[in-house]
């Protein structure tokens, strides 16, 4: 078993990276690997509660993050500095996460076999 980490750094809308990253995560979850997700920089916006994308005519895919548990993907990490810089706290997020400092995040990344950044 290998350790796969998916690093999400981009906002949920504006580009397709965040959505297509989630598609890889869902597939990786079926391969019996150790999968974790990291959200930092504008990627923290992907997890913000109460998203409404109607006005831009793009599907709000954020409920899918709630489905991750059903795929046994339960390791979600969010960088504290990225939340702070955007005036967000854990309470603004739509799924349970573990909040880590940059330094802790770096340690966690160093343990991985495969890091994919989207």
């Amino acid at each position: 078993m290998k350790k796969f980490m998916f690093v999400n750094r981009k906002p949920p809308y504006g580009t397709i990276y965040a959505l297509e990253s989630l598609e890889v995560v869902l597939i990786a979850a079926t391969f019996d690997q150790d999968v974790s997700l990291v959200f930092l920089d504008d990627g923290v916006y992907e997890l913000v509660k109460g998203q409404n994308s109607k006005a831009i005519g793009i599907k709000n895919y954020s409920p899918t993050y709630r489905a991750l548990e059903g795929y046994d993907v339960e390791k979600l990490y969010v960088e504290r500095e990225s939340l702070d810089a955007r005036g967000l706290t854990e309470k603004d997020l739509l799924v349970p996460v573990e909040v880590l400092s940059s330094a802790q995040m770096a340690d966690l990344m160093a343990e991985q076999d495969v890091v994919l950044s989207f």
Partner: protein, 119 residues
């Protein structure tokens, strides 16, 4: 060493695909193996044979096809990303095949290193 590559940007717009190609050529020249190149996001546009760059420019698509022919490199285009962008079997250049995201995960499992090219 066995390398898997991920190309996640389109050709010409972004240097990612050039850098990935140059990495692949250099790795093979040093005796390493390129286990697979996986094309995702706009990277799927690397696979269309309809590509016709100006004559004094490099032909990115043909370059990948030549690499596949010479070194048996597996060029895989993500089916979901491809269908979204109008890339289908009938427009694939030689050496490319369309398959699922599982091939990217498989590359992560089987290769010694999975190297990504994109933003």
């Amino acid at each position: 060493m066995k390398f898997g590559l991920l190309v996640s940007e389109g050709p010409y717009t972004h240097q990612a695909s050039d850098t990935a190609y140059q990495f692949a050529v250099a790795a093979v020249a040093k005796g390493h193996e390129i286990q697979r190149v996986f094309f995702y996001h706009d990277g799927v546009y690397n696979a269309t044979k309809l590509t016709e760059p100006p004559q004094d420019d490099r032909h990115i698509v043909n370059r990948w096809s030549a690499l596949a022919a010479e070194h048996k490199v597996d060029l895989v285009v993500c089916v979901a990303a491809a269908l979204r962008r109008g890339i289908k079997d009938e427009v694939l250049a030689p050496g490319f095949r369309i398959s699922g995201l599982g091939q990217l995960v498989d590359s992560g499992i089987k290769a010694d290193r999975l190297v990504t090219f994109g933003d």
